[in-house]
């Protein structure tokens, strides 16, 4: 059989085998749960448990380092996968919790801003980040007040109240969506 005929037969075979086997899209054209997504989630699980171990040992910098490694790690090519974005948002929130535990409100607020960029939808993830922002601003306001900076402390207090209101607003919205019969 000539090379041209062999190519023709090969092309026909490929055409016959072309089915949605290699599809990584759902019926609606959305990104389907696939290997890279699951690999990232598995890596996230490992990093968070590593942070647990280091936290239990009293090694807070080590715990933060494990979580920062997850944020810097390779991600699935599609940047819109909600699972990946929400896990990154929650990881930022956890780093902020560690930073707040060390009274480092500036570092915590920087992480929280980063996390909010991953959680733009009104979810528990965004609500949690806003709640932590409110706590961080409250911590800053107290520190400023202790330092005698009344005006700056007042401004920080206002920011704290704003973030806490936003957090409450998101939680209320979620409650209404899940329980339509809920009261006002």
């Amino acid at each position: 059989m000539s090379a041209r005929l062999r190519f023709f037969a090969f092309a026909l075979t490929l055409a016959a085998c072309s089915r949605p086997f290699d599809s990584a899209r759902s019926d609606a054209g959305e990104h389907a749960i696939d290997g890279p997504t699951m690999a990232f989630l598995s890596m996230a699980r490992a990093r968070h448990h590593e942070a647990n171990v280091r936290d239990a040992q009293g090694d807070i910098p080590g715990a933060i380092g494990a979580l920062e490694a997850l944020i810097a790690a390779p991600r699935p090519a599609d940047p819109t996968v909600p699972e990946v974005r929400e896990v990154l948002a929650d990881t930022c929130a956890r780093i902020a919790e560690f930073e707040l535990g060390r009274n480092r409100d500036t570092a915590a607020l920087a992480r929280l801003d980063e996390g909010l960029a991953f959680a733009d939808a009104p979810t528990f993830f965004r609500g949690h980040l806003l709640e932590l922002q409110g706590i961080a601003f409250e911590m800053r306001a107290n520190a400023l007040a202790d330092a005698g900076q009344r005006e700056n402390a007042s401004a920080a207090r206002e920011q704290a109240l704003d973030r806490l209101r936003q957090a409450v607003s998101i939680q209320e919205r979620i409650v209404r969506e899940r329980t339509p019969e809920a009261g006002p």
Binding site: S2, L12, A16, R19, A32, V81, R94
Partner: protein
């Protein structure tokens, strides 16, 4: 008992008919020189089998010429036949593969795959501080099940 059947031998010495005489003359003439006479060709083959002689130059050249020209024509026909069989075989293989793949045990409708989506539905209350790793555990376990279902769906075993 009287046998009425005539068993007497044929009369070989009977006089030849004019027709037999003409046929004998034609055969003798055909034996003297190459011709298309069937009986002469047969008798010549018998004689050559018994006592072969050298081919005449002209006949030799004619045989060589035929040998060198006929196979080429035959080859062209052979190539056409082989190409035809090759194409038919390729089409048959492709059709068989298509049937095999398309009749594999897949769902009749489009393959339904679990899509990436918010994990919000996995949680029924606002997040508590210090519970992040438990949340990541829940997300990973839930999506692992989705991935397994997607693979089964793609393999056509769901």
């Amino acid at each position: 008992m009287v046998d009425t059947h005539d068993e007497s031998p044929p009369d070989d010495l009977a006089a030849c008919s004019d027709e037999e005489r003409a046929a004998a003359s034609a055969l003798a003439a055909a034996l003297d020189r190459p011709s298309g006479h069937a009986d002469a060709t047969f008798l010549r083959a018998v004689a050559l089998a018994h006592a072969p002689t050298a081919l005449e130059q002209r006949e030799h050249e004619a045989l060589i010429s035929r040998a060198l020209t006929r196979p080429r024509a035959a080859d062209r026909g052979s190539v056409v036949r082989r190409v035809s069989f090759g194409v038919a075989a390729a089409l048959s293989v492709a059709a068989a593969l298509a049937l095999l793949v398309r009749t594999s045990p897949t769902p009749t409708g489009p393959t339904r795959l679990a899509a990436a989506r918010s994990t919000q539905a996995l949680f029924d209350q606002p997040f508590q501080a210090g519970a992040a790793s438990a949340r990541i555990d829940r997300i990973a376990v839930a999506r692992q099940a989705d991935l397994r279902d997607n693979r089964f769906a793609q393999w056509g075993v769901r």
